[in-house]
């Protein structure tokens, strides 16, 4: 049998180390040097990002760091790509508790950045990034706390339904569904030609939870959603309605069998794999999906030919704004005591030129105006258009509500998918987690 203490030891150890180092920290708050002192003294910036896998994303960040050092020879940048979960759940929290966090690091915005600001971890960059904020637009709000800017996004996009145009044609569906009634209709037609109408990676929880988020977006008013994000107030009945709508939708059996164990992405048996290889006709996913579909397809050319994208359909007669969309992005923030060069580097990352190069990697949609030309893929172009024309972009609810409520919410939604949870239990779980 297993003789494994590793997990326990690891948890205890990492938390201990964190506290020990935190105890030593606190003192010596260095004042940011005046503008004129920029680039005078050699500095080293450590940069943690989440493009850990070899590929265009990781290569591009390496190039960005090198280019910046070439422009400003006093700045050396040490880049480390760390897998998202590890970075977000363990490495970053532990590093922030210590007195030696990375200078610039991945920031997901929403509830998390709020907690980080409350703990005084982040540099207030409001005054330095006014131009960048103006150029990026409303997306920056996700990295704001109480009107102050603590980070900037480099990628932002709304989610929608990725679909197989050829299968739609075979099933006799003439136009992408614009309402849920039309979507249900499409599901029936796709079943008739024996393909999986919709693939969902419920095994990873969040791909399933995003269906509930969209029902909530349709059922709840923008004000209710704002209030929920800021105050963790989930009293509105629309959150129960979201679960009821989801349950009704699941009951029409639009998903592949045994979806509860299907992973979201990264291997051919995942929901991504089902769509990429023509076994499923639709998948609800964010703007990064093109890149992940590419990694699991058996026939890249066929995929490029059949893949399309349309926004999540509206629900007729619902309280929510039909042109509102769910979205999210990735950004970077500077640690409280990072040198002033950190902010300069952050500004460089979101400059239109660097953003255009980022868009050309095809790993996500850029946020800066002037970078749109970098988007070549037709599906990504339609997302970019939809993002610009969306009246309101609601951040992924699990990010907006913070990890604790987000995790409990996702677990309870998954229980609905598994057939042993109720719409009311989702709201109860969210409220209970908010008190934890």
């Amino acid at each position: 049998m297993a003789i494994k203490r590793r997990a326990t030891t690891f948890l205890a150890l990492s938390m201990t180390t964190a506290l020990l180092v935190a105890g030593c920290g606190g003192g010596g708050e260095s004042e940011a040097p005046a503008e004129s002192e920029l680039y005078k003294n050699p500095v080293t910036l450590t940069w943690w990002h989440n493009a850990s896998q070899d590929g265009p994303g990781k290569e591009y960040w390496a190039k960005v760091a090198k280019d910046f050092s070439a422009l400003h020879p006093t700045v050396t940048i040490e880049v480390e790509g760390i897998e998202t979960n590890q970075l977000q759940r363990t490495r970053l929290p532990a590093a922030l508790l210590s007195n030696d966090p990375p200078d610039i690091f991945q920031a997901w915005g929403g509830g998390e950045i709020r907690e980080q600001v409350e703990a005084d971890y982040l540099k207030d960059i409001t005054d330095q990034v006014k131009d960048e904020v103006a150029n990026i637009g409303s997306a920056v709000e996700i990295w704001q706390v109480d009107g102050k800017q603590y980070g900037l996004p480099y990628r932002m996009g709304i989610e929608g339904i990725w679909y197989n145009k050829e299968l739609f044609q075979q099933a006799g569906i003439t136009a992408p569904p614009a309402t849920f009634d039309e979507l249900n209709d499409a599901v029936t037609k796709l079943k008739a030609i024996n393909v999986i109408p919709i693939a969902v990676g419920a095994g990873d929880k969040w791909p399933a939870a995003h269906w509930w988020y969209n029902f909530a977006l349709r059922a709840c008013s923008v004000d209710t959603l704002r209030k929920a994000s800021l105050e963790n107030n989930f009293d509105d009945q629309c959150f129960v309605k979201a679960g009821q709508d989801l349950k009704a939708f699941i009951d029409t059996k639009p998903f592949q069998p045994n979806f509860i164990a299907t992973p979201g992405q990264n291997d051919p048996t995942s929901a991504n794999g089902l769509l990429a290889n023509g076994k499923a006709a639709m998948e609800l996913m964010g703007d990064w999906n093109k890149g992940t579909l590419d990694t699991v397809t058996e026939d890249q050319e066929a995929l490029n030919k059949f893949i399309g994208w349309f926004p999540v359909p509206a629900i007729t007669g619902s309280a929510g704004d039909p042109k509102a969309a769910l979205g999210g992005g990735d950004g970077f923030a500077c640690a409280k005591n990072a040198p002033a060069e950190c902010v300069e580097f952050l500004k460089y990352i979101v400059s239109p030129e660097v953003q255009k190069g980022y868009a050309e990697t095809g790993t996500g949609l850029p946020v800066a105006k002037g970078a749109e030309d970098g988007v070549k893929d037709p599906a990504l172009k339609s997302i970019l258009e939809a993002t610009t024309s969306a009246t309101y972009v609601q951040l992924w609810l699990d990010t907006a509500f913070g990890s604790t409520v987000g995790n409990a919410m996702n677990d309870a939604i998954v229980a609905i998918f598994a057939g042993n949870g109720t719409p009311e239990q989702v709201v109860e779980a969210m409220k209970a987690a908010a008190r934890k």
Binding site: M1, A2, A12, T16, T404, D411, A418
Partner: protein
């Protein structure tokens, strides 16, 4: 050397002190000896003690300290809640599911692996062609990394995976299961994978134990007319007792703390529904993914307490004879 020894002895004898002060000298010599022994003990164990205290006891102390706080890992813990986190854990049905799953794995492992390992070990202890190869094969799964095993079984057991395909082609289509998706089946799937992975360890332990059974006893029994079965039952098995009990102990502790194979083989959704969660996966899911660091530490302390109590009870009642034997032998 031999030629000088007598000289030395003579010199020693010549300079031998009178009888009077001798006992005093001797007792002070004994004291010096005791002191030297203590210096030796302290000197040799200090490094290990420091490492043990720093990396085992201190973290355990901190884990307990943190477990008393409502703390999300941002900023130092300040919101003291006493034992609330412990109460919350035992009120969470998913944690109770995790406890049940751990119990299934503890007893399942003992009941399934024990007999298999014993049978295979007895078989492999006989002389036959290719014995080394079979020993090697039995041990291979144990040597493989947990993550490798997890991913391998995840692929084999997927809906369109090898296991179901084999069952189909053998005409056993009725046995086809959603091994990793059916919430009632998945814990038994996990038990099967764990058994496959760790039975080799039991076999190797028992083989080592068997090699310590004196051949003479077997021969004597054989001469007295005992059959092979009788020899195994009345000679080998009793002598194998200590090894079996040690294996049971290791298996039990390992089962209580099992993490990696389950983490890799079973998807997050199935874990969070309680179908395949164990205390350790529950701890990581809640501690890190739900960012409930105080709560996660409370679960860690519960896991430790259960393992500790189980270990102490096991030693007290089942390992006592083995340990006493060892101590008595040393005392003699």
């Amino acid at each position: 050397m031999t030629s000088t020894n007598p000289t030395l002895d003579l010199a020693g004898g010549a300079s031998a002190p009178p009888a009077g002060p001798r006992p005093a000298r001797r007792s002070s010599a004994r004291a010096a000896e005791t002191r030297r022994k203590w210096y030796e003990i302290i000197g040799l164990t200090t490094p290990a003690v420091i490492v043990y205290v720093m990396f085992v006891l201190v973290p355990m102390g901190f884990a307990f300290y943190y477990s008393l706080f409502r703390w999300r890992g941002v900023g130092p813990p300040t919101d003291y809640v006493g034992f609330d986190n412990y109460v919350l854990a035992f009120q969470d049905p998913i944690f109770l599911d995790a406890l049940r799953n751990n119990a299934i794995i503890v007893f399942g492992s003992l009941l399934i692996q024990g007999p298999i390992a014993l049978g295979v070990a007895l078989l492999l202890n006989r002389n036959f062609r290719g014995r080394t190869l079979f020993r090697l094969l039995a041990f291979v799964p144990y040597v493989l990394a947990e993550v490798t095993v997890g991913i391998m079984w995840k692929l084999l057991l997927s809906d369109a995976g090898t296991v179901n395909a084999m069952l189909e082609s053998l005409g056993l289509g009725s046995l086809v299961q959603a091994w990793l998706a059916d919430l009632d089946v998945v814990i038994w799937t996990m038990l099967a994978v764990l058994t496959w992975k760790y039975v080799g360890f039991a076999i190797i332990l028992l083989l080592a134990g068997l090699s310590n059974v004196p051949q003479e006893l077997n021969e004597a029994a054989a001469i007295d007319g005992a059959s092979w079965w009788q020899i195994q039952r009345h000679v080998t098995l009793p002598l194998l007792g200590p090894t079996i009990r040690i294996w049971m102990f290791l298996s039990m502790i390992g089962s209580l703390q099992v993490f990696d194979v389950i983490w890799v083989t079973s998807v997050p959704a199935v874990r969070s529904l309680g179908a395949s969660a164990t205390m350790a996966t529950y701890m990581v899911d809640n501690g890190f993914f739900a960012r409930l660091w105080g709560y996660g530490n409370a679960v860690a302390v519960i896991l430790f307490a259960i393992s500790f109590v189980a270990a102490v009870l096991f030693q007290r009642f089942l390992l006592r004879r083995d340990i006493e034997g060892a101590i008595t032998r040393r005392a003699n």
